[in-house]
């Protein structure tokens, strides 16, 4: 099956064996000439199967046997992430929220509580806030500055919207008893960013990713937080400027 979708202001043509990806991406359907063409093979899907098994072993989890059509959706996103640096963009592992039209991305190792914290923002801000993508948003450097984009690869709870927002800040989340926030220098932020930004297997794309990180012009913060509603208030007040 083949379809053209619009992700991060790019037309992406995707060819797959199964239907699942096309159902998942239906809200992103587009027409016109593709900027990126992704044609998945059985080998791409096998590689995802191996990677999933390696990750499960590393995290000490039972390696589930995933169906082909699900692995195909993972392979498609990986292929897109490999192409994005060539279009001044990258995939970042984190939870992205739009608040009053501005994008905030929370990053932390899995299990720290990014999604929980993002949900506290949604509860606090009500209709002023939207979840852009709860797991793997895309970031692109546009002439007007960096923008964060929603996609349907959106984590366990499937929270995402087909929207984008100018990136206001990237916030590193850590668990703490008390809620505190402070700016991070670009030097301090780099180690956190490199862990959560997709590092392509292609050399040129990997180099371009570092060049983009060097250009990243957004607020950088370190949040120490608990899971109480006050955490969202401290974070929001500390970053909205």
């Amino acid at each position: 099956m083949e379809g053209v979708y619009r992700f991060a202001d790019l037309n992406v043509a995707i060819r797959t064996r199964c239907r699942r990806l096309h159902d998942m991406c239906r809200d992103y359907r587009a027409s016109g000439l593709p900027d990126i063409v992704i044609s998945l093979t059985g080998a791409d899907v096998e590689r995802e199967r191996e990677k999933a098994a390696v990750t499960a072993r590393r995290e000490g989890r039972f390696a589930a046997e995933y169906p082909y059509d699900y692995l195909e959706t993972l392979a498609a996103y990986r292929a897109l992430a490999e192409e994005l640096p060539g279009h001044d963009g990258f995939l970042i592992h984190g939870s992205a929220v739009a608040a009053d039209g501005e994008g905030y991305v929370f990053i932390a190792p899995s299990g720290t509580g990014k999604s929980t914290h993002a949900r506290l923002w949604l509860e606090m801000l009500g209709s002023r806030a939207v979840m852009i993508n709860d797991d793997k948003p895309l970031l692109r450097f546009m002439p007007s500055g960096p923008r964060v984009y929603g996609t349907p690869w959106d984590g366990k709870e499937h929270l995402s919207a087909n929207m984008s927002a100018p990136l206001k800040a990237v916030c590193v989340l850590t668990r703490a008893k008390e809620n505190t926030i402070r700016p991070l220098s670009p030097h301090e932020a780099l180690a956190y960013l490199l862990r959560q930004i997709y590092r392509p297997a292609g050399k040129e794309a990997a180099e371009q990713t570092l060049t983009l990180i060097d250009r990243l012009d957004a607020g950088l913060y370190l949040l120490g937080c608990n899971m109480e509603p006050e955490a969202a208030r401290v974070a929001y007040e500390g970053m909205k400027g």
Binding site: A191, L194, P200, K203, A206, L210
Partner: protein
């Protein structure tokens, strides 16, 4: 010894950064100043420790013991993350 081809070097925020390419686990990075940049530049070819030290002495006005100590420190950090091919 030589830098493995699956590592890349870039200047980010004014510092030299070396990271592995690909996403198969984060095996670490090495970051530092211009001296590290020069050491990594030298390691693009197959070189010995002595050759790196002399190439640095040509570029930087510093005592040899200091330069050698910097080179040894950098090489040990690079070995630790498996970035060198002996």
């Amino acid at each position: 010894m030589k830098l493995k081809s699956d590592f890349i070097v870039r200047e980010v925020n004014g510092e030299t950064v070396l990271v592995p390419i690909g996403d198969t686990g984060f095996s670490g990075m090495v970051r530092g100043n211009k001296t590290l940049g020069a050491i990594l530049q030298a390691l693009k070819a197959d070189v010995t420790e002595d050759e790196i030290v002399s190439s640095l002495l040509e570029r930087f006005d510093a005592p040899e013991e200091k330069v050698r100590a910097d080179v040894q420190k950098a090489l040990s950090a690079l070995r630790k993350i498996g970035a060198l091919r002996d």
